[in-house]
Symmetry: C2
Subunit: 147 residues, 2 copies
C-alpha cells in the first residue's frame, strides 16, 4: 500500500510537471497573436491602417513609421500587407531599400520575374525603376522600407 | 500487484512522453546553433569576422555588408557581437541608424544611461554624438547599422 501511494505521489508530481510545460507553451503561442486583426509576424510595430495610401494597394496594409530624426535623412517604416495584398506598379525618384522582417512576400521589377521574399532578404531598388511588392497569396508579409 | 504494474505502466508512458518533449526541445535548440561558432540569433547573414575594425571592439564581432547599390546611398550591414563585446566610444559625422534584429544588447550616449536593445528596437544617432553599442554581458547581439 505504501508503495502504491509512493508511485501515485511520483505520478502526480510528473503529471503536474507536464501540465506546466503545456501551460508555458500555450502562453508562448498567445504572445505571438496580438495587434488586433494583424498577427504578430515580426519584432517591429505594425502601426496604423495605411488608409492614406489605400488607393495604391490591392488590399489592406498597415504602416508604422520607425524614425523621426531628420538629420539622418533615412526615413524608415514597417509596412505590413494582409495575405494577397500588393501595391500597384510604381517607382521612387530616390530609389528604395526593402528589408523583409516577417511572413512571405514578393517583389517584382517591370520585365523581370517576381522574387520571393522571406525574413532577412534585402531588395535594393534603383531610382525610377518600376516595381511592386506585397504579400504572398496566403501569407501575411512585413518589410522595412527605407527611402 | 496488478495495480502496481498498471501504475508503473502509466508512469513509463508519461515519462517517455516527457522525454519526447525534451528531445524536441533539444532538436530545436540545435537548429539555432549554426554559422560555425556564432549562434543563429537573427534572419540576417552573420558575415565574416570583423578583423578590420577589431581594434575598436572589446571582443569578437562579425560584419555582413547587406547592400551594394551606390545610387541608393544607404550602406547597411549586420553587425554581430559575442557576449560582453562592445565597441569603443565613437561618433559618425553623418550619424547612424541601428536596428536590433537578434539577441540582447546595449547602446549608450555620452552623459546618458545605457539603453537595453532587443529585436525590433531602433536607435537614431545624430551626427557627431559620442556613443558605444554592443552585446549584453551574457548574450549574443545583432543589429543592422545604416550610415
Amino acid at each position: 500500500m505504501k508503495k502504491n501511494l509512493l508511485t501515485l505521489l511520483i505520478l502526480v508530481v510528473i503529471l503536474s510537471g507536464c501540465n506546466n510545460s503545456n501551460q508555458e507553451k500555450k502562453t508562448e503561442d498567445m504572445k505571438t497573436e496580438t495587434n488586433g486583426e494583424v498577427p504578430k509576424i515580426s519584432d517591429f510595430p505594425v502601426g496604423d491602417p495605411n488608409t492614406a495610401y489605400a488607393q495604391y494597394f490591392s488590399g489592406r496594409s498597415w504602416l508604422a513609421p520607425l524614425t523621426k530624426m531628420s538629420e539622418l535623412n533615412v526615413p524608415m517604416s514597417n509596412v505590413t500587407f494582409e495575405p494577397g495584398c500588393r501595391n500597384n506598379w510604381h517607382s521612387h525618384t530616390g530609389g528604395q531599400l526593402l528589408v523583409a522582417v516577417g511572413g512571405i512576400g514578393y517583389y517584382q521589377e517591370r520585365g523581370k520575374a517576381a522574387v520571393r521574399m522571406t525574413p532577412g532578404d534585402i531588395i535594393e531598388i534603383a531610382p525610377n525603376i518600376e516595381h511592386w511588392h506585397g504579400a504572398a497569396p496566403d501569407e501575411w508579409f512585413s518589410h522595412l522600407a527605407i527611402v
